[in-house]
Symmetry: C2
Subunit: 544 residues, 2 copies
Amino acid sequence: MAENGFRISKTPVWKKLKEHAEEMKKPEYHLKHLVQQKGRLANFSLKNVDFFYDFSRQRVTEKTMDLLFELADTADVHRKYRAMAEGQKVNVTENRAALHTAARSFSSQSILMDGKNVMGEIDAVRRQIRAFSEKVHNGTLRGSTGKVFRHIVVIGIGGSYLGTEFVANALFAFADKGMELHFLSNVDSHNFETIKTKIDPESTLCIVISKSFTTVETMANAMQMKAYLSSCGLDAMKHCVTVTSKGSPGDKGEESGIETFHMFDFIGGRFSVTSAVGGVPLSLYLGYDRFDRFLEGAREVDIHTKYAPSPENIPLVSALIGIWNNNFLGYQAQAVIPYASPLSKLAPHIQQLNMESNGKSVTINNYDLDNSSGVIIFGEPGTNAQHSFFQLAHQGHPFPIDFIGVVSPQYPEGRCRPHGVSNHQELWANLISQATALAVGKDAEEKTRFFQGNRPSSTILLNDLSPANVGRLLAYYEAQTVYKAFIWDINPFDQFGVELGKTIANDLRKEIVSRNTNDGHNFKHMDEITRFYLERLFAGKLPE
Amino acid sequence: MAENGFRISKTPVWKKLKEHAEEMKKPEYHLKHLVQQKGRLANFSLKNVDFFYDFSRQRVTEKTMDLLFELADTADVHRKYRAMAEGQKVNVTENRAALHTAARSFSSQSILMDGKNVMGEIDAVRRQIRAFSEKVHNGTLRGSTGKVFRHIVVIGIGGSYLGTEFVANALFAFADKGMELHFLSNVDSHNFETIKTKIDPESTLCIVISKSFTTVETMANAMQMKAYLSSCGLDAMKHCVTVTSKGSPGDKGEESGIETFHMFDFIGGRFSVTSAVGGVPLSLYLGYDRFDRFLEGAREVDIHTKYAPSPENIPLVSALIGIWNNNFLGYQAQAVIPYASPLSKLAPHIQQLNMESNGKSVTINNYDLDNSSGVIIFGEPGTNAQHSFFQLAHQGHPFPIDFIGVVSPQYPEGRCRPHGVSNHQELWANLISQATALAVGKDAEEKTRFFQGNRPSSTILLNDLSPANVGRLLAYYEAQTVYKAFIWDINPFDQFGVELGKTIANDLRKEIVSRNTNDGHNFKHMDEITRFYLERLFAGKLPE
């Protein structure tokens, strides 16, 4: 089916959806009417174990969903998903598999890649992480001056820290190992200097995370951190571990520090939270058992994702609605608004996951995409977001929203009831009312008080923010992301779009090195704009 | 000019700009050609004291700029700006002035509102802040058990904390008063519980910030915090100050705590960083003198903004380019990417400032807007953003970017030069190359390595991140925001879009109170969707 020349936008069902979208713009399909249909919630919501997905306030009807399921079939998404989960080299441009789901597989079944079962290596790394984190927690393993480790500095950028940051924030309430976690990602020296003011070097353990061990920012930061530890009279390499590919420069001798944990080229950075990339820091921060339960939650959603038929498949339904909103209703952005402060770093993680995976311009068979793939993802927790940018959502430029609610908070509720309700109840009153207000709107004589409504949203509910539920949430967004890609027929696992900037930066670095080593080197051969910036950098100030 | 019925989209110059935008889509106006024009940078950049604004990589020509200046004249923006700065009631729907610029005025000139000089009150609050912060810093004023204050908890939401958070992060390097700053904004109890684990109650000072002193979240959090302090055996009111309107419930007796600092109804929340809203916490965190220098920087940009003619007026030029990108070239989002970790909270602040101010659907004279006002603002610091969502920027859905560069970092540079360059030089190599790569693109046989280019960006340069320069940056974005509103002819100072959600939440709160006080109260009279959510909240779990 999805062979040479295939473009989803040329299929009959795409055309039918285009026509249907015109139909759906009619006043009778305004959300204020749709939500009043009897059985609306029952018909437009799904539940799998502890994960509830409500799309009753999306601008869809049964016909919409039928067409979207036809679209999914046309794009052959179930076959593609299985191919991914079973170790085929679905990342065709890089000739790699995409086996993040294997990172949380616990079944005795093999997962074969090039005829070799990958589960052996994965299990070995898991056992290594467990043993290592136990040694740190029980004080068997200490810093070079004998102090127990209390500070963890994750040195890594992009996919090497965003997911870990999300999960660590989400599970702060469980972080009872006496560890503080810091993220040294940005090559900007302010990032390093700020962390320096917060750590005690003798009790600091650095985790240097880079698949290739050549990532410029990470290498620069690792070097800076090691120099600092040495300057404090410490044996720096006894304060470092590495997470890297087998055979990388960080996997050998001196550079590997106390221990090396392998990551694999079949798990991409932005999908690597459940591998050693997340496993090492999260196990140190939360304890290995909680990391394990986090994996279990993710695993459960993986199984659902692989086997549930389209109409019951939560990540697939949500991917289809995303595409409906984007390509047919014309929304170019998507907000992620968790009504839960611990999920404050969910949006930055999903931002990378989605925008890097699906911001593509060619199909997997190298045909120009003529439809738009990828949307802008942004978000802040509610109720904060209501007091920030929701004005635009209600009365300005509309954008679809994922609301996320948590039935029970992590901490027991206080007895304060300022307006007769607990803070958690207040939070929920807002969660419920925002989705309603956006959907239903309000007529008013006064134009400033008129609300057009018809603004779509979904609501995800979790019973609580346990490690397993955070794992479910992560796996849900990962699966939604790849299903979108499978529908668009793009490769969500490469990222060539970051290459051009790197190439130009390499050239500029050479210019800077030349000037660093030779005061007489000038930039007159460069284009006028570049020259100006390089001159400012060396002058240390703006022109008078 | 801008009288009844006026709509900017009906003016001849709007039509000319529409036509011109079509012209600009021609291949010869691709940015790769525009940036090579001789004198491009000199002709398409502006500087005012220590603020440099480069728009050479925006998709504009001299003709574009001429038309945009004509648009500014048509919208009569200079008159509107002066009316605002001189105390006229430009916030017509609420019959209020918008005098955030007065908060940083130091001239002896009066600013009259209703015939009364507002500067007296403003000066008095400033003196009060100075005296108060000195008393805290020198230990004259202490907690109820005699401990010096070491923890500041800002209790406020939206405009009551986002700007302070941005500035406090930006100036962390200057925070030498031994104070830690915490933000209790979200009504979610996790926010409170997390802060509880980080503070020492005896040395904690709370700043409760709410203009009306009725903001639901803030009142709930203040009550919770006071109950906690009391439960620790402390006299809670000796650990609290308030920032509120004269005569509000927080301005009286018991509720006001140690001291009340007035805020004024002529300064809106999202524009209030330079008032007592930012002044009290920032003076405690950084010392009053640094807050004062921050005000000075903002003031300098205000003067430039008020008096500079259109072609030299940096905030106006940037507002015009924003509208050009949004209404004429069709970009619906705008990223803010500071190449400076300390500016990591700039984007959330600008997100509120812009999206709440300009996400409107009616003109100031109550005519329906038929053009879109307001864009989605998002962003993370570079280089982090490069490793997160820049794939979409380069090869997917394009969006204009504000890059921000800082010539000299706050900390002296380390001697580490991993690739022959310092970390700060590496940061700049990336800053320069991203803007170039986006603008110029790259041809390639291989489609996955093809970069279309023609992606617009501006670059702002500051000499350093001093308090004054952070003030300049703030005032620049404030002025850009109001200039955009003046061109669209909307009121950027109201926010009726947040009202509907509040009204519905009020109704739901009553339902929750009824159930809290009467177990027999059920939700059968509610619509099916609302009922489901309320039942889940009380059941404490998802349905089986």
